[in-house]
């Protein structure tokens, strides 16, 4: 069964000069325990899709949303704002691009953990929360968790903050994790460690992941299945191996050809933006 089922999702914004359409009927499914990537360039609609799943854009008065978004069998768009808020941080959680700005600079890591854990269990004592946080930090391979719990985000490195964010996001064993370009703000080697860590933990817990990225290499290493989004339309989707071995859509091919390779061969000739990029969706199957 799908943890996330998105069908014919449309999004538009009311602006001073009229109406801007951002998503033109997105279909996307994520099975339990599946790691799915949504790949596209800036402005393609990947982050707004995540914000709709989290129930955040529904609170924006200028946003016009239609279509189906089912999370674990419940229709997100039909829920009250309060119920949607109840899902965040418990049943679904998010890892952001830049860990240092996503953590609150005014509170210690320990206090932020308590806040997160109390979303699931409001009566959790401070001592119990610290004990649980210590275990969680241990799982993300943070040495000396006691010191880190007493520290403020600025006292930790970017890589450490990223691990703290991962531990917090998974603290309440959510069914769905949304990861928006995790590690892009970090060095390559830290980014690689971060991805391995997220993958190990979600596989261990059976958590489903919606992974948002514009980096094809990272997507290839992380995801089971990939959706390619271009200007608010899904243009191609399929199992990661099939899609990378045999990209069919003009836009996917253009993206692949533009990635510099460590095998050399010089800078690629980049095809100009063409009408073919807007051709209908090609599916390699593999979804539920």
């Amino acid at each position: 069964m799908s943890i996330l089922h998105i069908k014919d999702l449309h999004l538009g914004f009311k602006t001073l000069t009229g109406h801007v359409d951002v998503l033109h009927g997105i279909d996307l499914d994520i099975a339990a325990g599946e790691k799915v990537a949504l790949v596209g360039e800036s402005g393609s609609g990947k982050s707004v899709t995540a914000r709709i799943v989290l129930g955040l854009l529904q609170e924006t008065r200028t946003a016009r949303i239609s279509g189906t978004v089912q999370f674990d069998g419940q229709d997100i768009n039909a829920m009250s704002a309060r119920d949607r808020a109840g899902l965040r941080g418990t049943e679904m959680s998010m890892i952001f691009q830049d860990p240092t700005s996503a953590l609150n600079p005014m509170f210690t890591i320990g206090n932020q953990f308590t806040e997160v854990l109390r979303r699931r269990d409001p009566k959790l004592s401070k001592a119990a929360s610290h004990a649980r946080a210590t275990t969680l930090l241990d799982e993300v391979a943070i040495p000396d968790p006691a010191r880190v719990l007493g520290a403020y985000p600025f006292q930790l490195s970017g890589g450490m903050n990223q691990r703290v964010m991962i531990a917090m996001a998974l603290a309440n064993t959510p069914k769905l994790l949304l990861a928006d370009e995790p590690g892009t703000a970090l060095d390559v080697s830290v980014q690689a460690q971060t991805l391995t860590l997220i993958r190990d933990l979600v596989e261990q817990n059976g958590t489903s992941v919606l992974f948002i990225s514009h980096n094809l290499g990272v997507v290839r290493e992380f995801a089971d299945r990939v959706y390619v989004i271009y200007r608010g339309n899904i243009v191609e989707d399929g199992p990661t191996d099939a899609l990378f071995a045999n990209p069919q859509h003009a836009y996917t091919r253009a993206l692949m050809s533009a990635v510099p390779r460590i095998t050399g061969a010089g800078l690629p000739e980049v095809p100009e933006v063409s009408d073919d990029f807007l051709a209908p969706r090609i599916s390699h199957g593999g979804a539920l």
């Binding site: 060095d187 980096n215 290493e221 533009a258 390779r261 095998t263």
Partner: protein, 265 residues
């Protein structure tokens, strides 16, 4: 011919908890017309070296020679205009309140380059060289796409008629299609204008395709320096192999190469 040389370049910052050795005893030459990549993680000293070359920071010890002349942080306008910078994020490096044209022109006024009456012409030529039309000069940075803004940053550097560009992660804020176009532009400009580049990045796949030589830094020290083809066929330092091992790859040939080079890490 050597255009720029660093000789025993060292930068130490004094902090309340003791000295931090940001750059330690770095010696290397940059040949005229080459693109030298500087790679390494955050804190490896990449940007500190760039800042010393640009004259933003004074070296603690060691010397920088440019075109046969010693360069200190106190340098003439003539020396300054010849070494220009392109930064990572064009949205924060361009003044949002200044039109594109005014940003590109600023260097001409500051360094007093050429006749005043001819300066707008220089601005239009610089915009033209990066593929932007001259009538864009009245627009604000906010009305441009990321790729266009980065082209403006490059035009701003070119307007001063530099010989040497320090490119600090010039494409890492850009989408892959836009990145490929900007990299081609930089490559073409280098050939056409006879420029010399220092290309700072942690994206090794980009390095493989744009640089002639690679300098690998770790904790402020130069750990490996070599031809790009040599670094990507037989890396010597364990740290270089570790960096290559972390590159995300998209096809089987790359995967094989990466696994081969990263062996033993």
């Amino acid at each position: 011919m050597t255009l720029l040389s660093l000789n025993g370049l060292t930068k130490t910052f004094e902090t309340p908890t003791g000295p931090v050795h940001a750059v330690s005893d770095v010696t290397l030459d940059v040949q005229a017309g080459e693109c030298l990549a500087i790679v390494g993680e955050s804190g490896s000293g990449k940007t500190t070296i760039a800042n010393m070359i640009l004259g933003i920071l004074a070296a603690t010890s060691g010397e920088i020679t440019f075109d046969g002349q010693a360069l200190s942080a106190k340098r003439s306008a003539e020396q300054r205009r010849r070494i220009q910078l392109v930064q990572q994020n064009p949205l924060s490096s361009l003044n949002p309140k200044r039109s594109i044209g005014a940003s590109v022109r600023l260097g001409l006024d500051v360094y007093d380059i050429g006749e005043k009456s001819g300066r707008w012409g220089v601005v239009e030529d610089a915009l033209d060289a990066v593929g932007l039309s001259g009538d864009m000069r009245t627009r604000a940075p906010a009305s441009l796409s990321g790729g266009q803004r980065q082209r403006v940053s490059i035009a701003r550097a070119l307007a001063c008629d530099p010989r040497f560009l320090v490119l600090d992660e010039p494409t890492s804020a850009l989408d892959v299609l836009v990145q490929a176009r900007v990299l081609r532009l930089l490559n073409d400009l280098r050939v056409v204008r006879g420029l010399t580049y220092i290309f700072i990045t942690h994206d090794l796949a980009v390095v493989r395709n744009v640089a002639d030589r690679v300098a690998v830094f770790q904790s402020g020290q130069l750990v490996e320096l070599g031809e790009t083809t040599q670094i990507f066929s037989a890396p010597q330092a364990a740290y270089t192999r570790q960096l290559i091992g972390a590159v995300p790859v998209v096809d089987a040939a790359e995967l094989n190469l990466r696994n081969k080079l990263a062996e033993g890490v």
